[in-house]
């Protein structure tokens, strides 16, 4: 028997504050784009990109596959919202209402304890960015994207829009037209960071959009761990997130990119992520998707260098009213490249989880190795779970395997745990946590705790 509780208060994530804004753009038009560009005092080349993207957005159609997106009317969305503050270097200088939100999310505390640097974005603009002195001395650049355009124009020009082109799809064109905020990270050759950098993106305004751009370059032989957190309070109006992440992991470098996404359930999350991986380099994606009304997110790794590696570890948890359409794309474009995928999904209370993958082994990718494993758990019969993997292999010298399973919680396992004194609900909850455990242990300890807490929140009202 299941206990259901409606309208669970998502406590810390659901903090709603009245924030003062000094500028607001609604919808998408040349006027809005020029307003954003003027506010940011951008160079002409950036404005040109925005205007090209606007044209593409108007020309491109919605995808003819995946979740329905027709309810999104971008002209009703507040596409640029500037809070009444500048970016600050200390939390004390951040306005009280905004600082309180980040305090409750635990960001300043995490910075003190376990991070080498933190960036915080509130609606369309960065409100805080700081990098530890020790790391700064190593030549690491970590700043918000607007500052990067002004202070490191050559680096930004070299990499910006080079991984994800403007015409990739309709919502990346939307992103390039309206992008605001985000992070820029450059880790110089040979620099290995012991502690992660974290950017936290908070969309606080109702009926608004967030379009941050994250660009990370990990130069030859360098190592970086980056953590991205996202959340928003729940409103009745539709919010949209069309961010973009471009990653360049150069030869012999390593990047671990972790995301815990807990957007509110009125959010359309149409995010795009892409990574170029060089010779002997490695990208690790660790993703936890819990929030949003609709998510379409398929990070692409292009393994361009010999021996390049990709590891992808992800979990999705879809509850009532959620349609989480996630997965990954991999292109093997050099010899001896490899990719290991471990994906799990849980659907409950009418939630829809879809795993899509797109694996392409090109003709020159001799001795490529791919191993994909997907597991889906259904907690009731009103939910949906689909697995839709596609692969294309153009060489005979490949080792490829894909396995997927779908099922319910084992009756035998429940019986066993109940014989040890647990109630049926406790037994089920324990099994779900055990199902997610291989993923949660891939996160840094603090974030594994955070992920487990999110799983507990999701389970609340269904089990236990």
């Amino acid at each position: 028997m299941k206990t259901r509780i409606d309208n669970i208060d998502k406590n810390i994530y659901n903090i709603k504050t009245e924030t003062k804004y000094i500028k607001k753009g609604v919808g998408i038009s040349e006027d809005v784009i020029r307003l954003i560009s003027k506010e940011k005092e951008e160079p002409d080349w950036v404005l040109d990109i925005r205007l090209k993207a606007l044209k593409l957005f108007n020309e491109l159609n919605n995808p003819d596959w995946g979740p329905e997106l027709t309810e999104l009317d971008i002209n009703k969305i507040a596409t640029y919202i500037k809070p009444e503050t500048k970016k600050q270097m200390t939390w004390d200088d951040v306005p009280n209402d905004i600082r309180n939100v980040f305090d409750k999310l635990g960001i300043p505390e995490a910075e003190k304890e376990s991070l080498a640097g933190v960036g915080a974005q509130y609606d369309s603009e960065a409100v805080y960015h700081n990098l530890s002195e020790k790391v700064e001395k190593l030549g690491v650049i970590y700043t918000d994207f607007d500052t990067a355009i002004k202070e490191y124009p050559e680096l930004v020009k070299k990499y910006f829009s080079k991984a994800v082109p403007l015409n990739d799809h309709k919502y990346i064109a939307l992103h390039y037209a309206l992008f605001s905020g985000g992070s820029f990270i450059y880790v110089p050759k040979g620099v290995k960071l012991d502690y992660p950098l974290q950017s936290y993106f908070r969309l606080n305004a109702p009926g608004a959009g967030q379009f941050e751009h994250t660009l990370i370059v990990v130069d030859e032989g360098a190592d970086l761990q980056f953590i991205e957190g996202c959340s928003a309070p729940g409103y009745n109006e539709l919010n949209v997130h069309a961010g973009c992440v471009e990653l360049f992991v150069n030869d012999n470098a390593n990047l671990r990119f972790s995301t815990i996404e807990n957007w509110s359930k009125n959010m359309l999350n149409l995010n795009t992520k892409k990574c170029f991986v060089g010779k002997n380099a490695k990208i690790e994606w660790i993703m936890g998707s819990f929030g949003s009304k609709v998510s379409m997110l398929y990070p692409l790794s292009v393994l361009n260098g010999e021996n390049a590696k990709c590891e992808f570890t992800a979990i999705s948890f879809a509850g009532n009213g959620q349609n989480l359409d996630t997965g990954l794309k991999v292109i093997h474009n050099a010899k001896n490249t490899s990719c290991v995928v471990n994906s799990k999904s849980i659907s409950k209370d009418g939630g829809i989880c879809t795993f899509r993958s797109y694996e392409w082994v090109k003709k020159n990718a001799k001795n490529a190795k791919l191993s994909l494993n997907c597991e889906s758990l259904m907690l009731d019969s009103i939910s949906r779970s689909d697995t839709i993997p596609v692969n294309k292999i153009e060489t005979d010298d490949v080792t490829f395997s894909h396995e997927a399973t779908i099922g319910k919680i084992s009756d035998k396992a429940i019986f066993y745990l109940m014989s040890r004194g647990l109630s049926e609900d406790e037994a089920k909850a324990l099994i779900v946590r055990g199902f997610a455990e291989p993923i949660s242990k891939s996160f840094p300890v603090e974030y594994a705790v955070e992920m487990n807490r999110l799983i507990n929140l999701e389970l609340e009202g269904t089990i236990g």
């Binding site: 596959w65 993997p389 596609v390 294309k392 779908i406």
Partner: protein
């Protein structure tokens, strides 16, 4: 003429162009109807009638054409065919195009096996388009093997639709060994309790052949079971699209579904694409799919060659080892030997 055919039940990203197939088909005119042989020594247990309806008809492949032949077969209630019923279509230079339909109605508690063969008598490229509809009643057991022994320039389109009632079982063995453009559509509706289906498919792609397979089983009844297994080899510049879907519908409690594909790549110029889908709206099910691809294992090859076999003999042995798990499921020994011979010739 260009056709867009064989659409998948759910669309996905268009990058690999696997949601359907855009194919150029040259459909010849019918000059003379093909020779059909139907061989059964138990005619008292089945009813057969053949029509020449000459009407326009479409299939789940999505191509509309004029139906040349329609064969209706009914296996009577509680009857068991001791010997297999064989249906052969022959293609010749003046009868090289055929669109036929075979309807088999397996009545309650009947048990039967049918072998359908398409045979090229000469080098004329044939165009074969088969619609095969089966209705399997309560407790009936229907086994069908389909062999395409047509010449390498022929086009072969096969669309199968099965409806399976309570505790009914249908098995298809498909031997897709020859031909140029080969499009297969397979659909099974497991609508009642404990109904089940097996699909065993062996294919060989070589030269510039194009294979497009689109399989779908919908599990609707309680304790339904589906197994769809495909083994293939690709050589030369062959291209293969494998699309397979197990769809657990709401209410199919305790259902089991499994799809498996293994492809052995014998050439660096062949291309394999796969889309094995699992769709699920029922909690209490057990579903799995797996796909594997790769070339002949060098260690295996070395071991066999060290026992005195040539490279081509060793490769053949490995190919047969690969196909063996499906070949042994062919209950007709004569047909199994024929298939082995055909495979040997093809590789």
């Amino acid at each position: 003429m260009k056709y867009i055919l064989n659409e998948t039940p759910v669309k996905t990203t268009n990058g690999f162009m696997i949601n359907n197939i855009n194919v150029d088909l040259d459909i010849p005119l019918v000059y003379k109807l093909n020779i059909i042989n139907i061989v059964s020594d138990e005619m008292d247990k089945i009813d057969i009638d053949i029509n020449k309806p000459n009407t326009n008809e479409t299939t789940k492949i999505g191509l509309e054409d004029t139906l040349d032949y329609e064969i209706n077969i009914t296996v009577k209630e509680y009857e068991e065919l001791k010997n297999d019923c064989i249906i052969e279509y022959h293609f010749t230079n003046d009868a090289n195009k055929l669109f036929s339909r075979i309807n088999i109605n397996a009545k309650e508690s009947s048990k039967s096996k049918f072998i359908i063969k398409f045979i090229s008598e000469d080098d004329t490229p044939a165009f074969n388009y088969l619609k095969q509809i089966n209705n399997v009643e309560k407790n009936a057991h229907l086994d069908i093997s389909i062999v395409a022994n047509i010449n390498k320039d022929s086009n072969n389109l096969i669309a199968i639709e099965n409806n399976v009632e309570e505790s009914g079982f249908i098995n298809h063995n498909l031997y897709d060994l020859k031909g140029n453009k080969r499009i297969t559509n397979y659909y099974t509706d497991l609508k009642d309790i404990s109904s089940s289906n097996n699909l065993n498919n062996i294919y060989i792609g070589k030269d510039d052949s194009l294979l497009d397979m689109n399989y779908l089983t919908e599990l609707k009844g309680v304790k339904t079971e589906s197994n769809m297994t495909t083994y293939g080899i690709l050589n030369d510049k062959a291209i293969k699209n494998y699309k397979s879907t197990i769809d657990f519908k709401s209410g199919c409690k305790k259902a089991f579904g499994k799809e498996y594909e293994n492809v052995l790549l014998l050439s660096d110029n062949a291309i394999t694409k796969s889309l094995p889908m699992l769709l699920c709206t029922e909690e209490d099910v057990n579903g799995s799919h797996s796909v594997s691809s790769g070339k002949v294992d060098n260690n295996q090859l070395f071991y066999i060659m060290s026992r005195g076999l040539s490279k081509s003999e060793a490769t053949k042995l490995i190919v047969f080892a690969n196909f063996n798990s499906l070949l042994k499921k062919e209950s007709n020994e004569e047909l199994r030997n024929e298939i082995i011979e055909l495979i040997e010739k093809e590789i």
